[in-house]
Amino acid sequence: MRRTLLLAALIGGFAGPVRADADADPHAEMAAALMAQADLEPASLTLPSTAAAPRHAAAPSAVKRGIPSRATGEIAGVAANQVSQRAQAQATTQAVAHQAQAAAAAAAGQAQSQAAKERASHPRPR
């Protein structure tokens, strides 16, 4: 009898958290998170001019985002280099810096996302 109870308790305890998840309401949880994490203060606003400007406001650099991966660095470097070369032809120094920064951040984000996907493709330990 004791063995039966032990076994049931063990398996029941293991399954408990899963049942708790099944009872959760993702929509309500997400709504709360969205409210809490919304950017309430608009950033400074400047109208773009001509096609040389980046498509969005300057993004934080890969270094600032704390992404040390070698692959990230390489991808970011290649992207920054490509942008830099293209921008050289346009001969607008300030735009070069912005574009390289944005491209580096975008490449870093992609690499980070790829790494996360790879992590996710491995079975999670239970």
């Binding site: 009898m1 969205l34 109208l47």
Partner: protein, 265 residues
């Protein structure tokens, strides 16, 4: 023996529960929990799995759009919001407005935030929406320069072939900015390019709304309007436009003739 039966019973129940572990709701919940914890890259991985599932929720943009926004992947976020077929939701719209703002699509951002003020999102978000509108209005107190409009048109044209949904967002901004200029500037080019992008991204009704009252129509715009009418099944309006294009022997003659033949079939 009794222990074995109890174990089988409990394992059966547990097995059923764990079967859910790989299903869409489970990934959605993992994505939400990662988002809550600020692990947006992990949230994105989970939500991408949800997006690929046949039983993905209709309001996926509610989860995926803000996640991409938090990862500063604004263009992808804008596409997610623009292609969402879910019923309008105020919180999703708040993040859509923020995404537009980051992409410097300020007229579109203003439109979203101004619409949100009527929804009552609570004091914090209502006030924030008000601030976004005020900031944009302050900037546009002076008429925009043609250079700003050139920027949006250039971005839209550059993206037109590869990403018509995003191209349409830039061209729609250009269209709205152009309305603020004292004189028309690149008007025919903008409406034709916007109509093309909307047709290419499955929004023929928007093309009809954009061009139905437009006079005069450029040959390109005329072709896009004819395509849009045909796409929504309005052959009565499509046919005379197509016949005029064929008769004019312009750039879209062959395509117009083919479409006319399809409408006649």
């Amino acid at each position: 023996m009794r222990a074995v039966w109890v174990a089988i019973l409990v394992l059966g129940v547990a097995g059923e529960l764990f079967a859910d572990d790989s299903t869409t709701p489970r990934h959605l919940l993992l994505g939400v929990h990662a988002f809550k914890a600020g692990r947006y890259d992990e949230a994105l991985v989970e939500l991408r799995l949800v997006a690929r599932a046949p039983d993905a929720p209709a309001d996926l943009a509610f989860y995926l759009g803000p996640t991409l926004y938090k990862l500063k992947r604004y263009e992808e976020a804008a596409v997610v919001f623009a292609t969402s077929r879910a019923a309008p939701d105020a919180l999703t719209d708040f993040y859509r407005g923020e995404t537009y703002y980051q992409l410097r699509l300020f007229r579109k951002a203003r439109q979203v935030f101004a619409g949100l003020r009527a929804h009552g999102l609570g004091p914090a978000l209502d006030d924030a929406a008000e601030r976004y509108v005020a900031k944009i209005d302050a900037t546009y107190r002076v008429a925009p320069s043609p250079g700003a409009l050139d920027y949006y048109v250039a971005q839209g044209l550059e993206l037109a072939a590869s990403d018509p949904v995003l191209a349409a967002e830039y061209l729609d901004e250009a269209h709205q900015v152009e309305l603020l200029l004292a004189e028309r500037y690149r008007h025919a080019e903008i409406v034709a390019a916007l109509a093309r992008a909307w047709n290419a991204s499955g929004r023929p009704r928007d093309v009809v709304a954009l061009l139905a009252g437009e006079k005069p129509l450029s040959p390109d715009a005329s072709w896009e309007l004819a395509r849009a009418y045909a796409a929504v099944g309005d052959a009565v309006h499509a046919r005379p436009l197509l016949e005029a294009i064929v008769k004019a022997r312009g750039a879209h003659q062959a395509e117009a003739a083919a479409l006319l033949a399809r409408l006649a079939a």
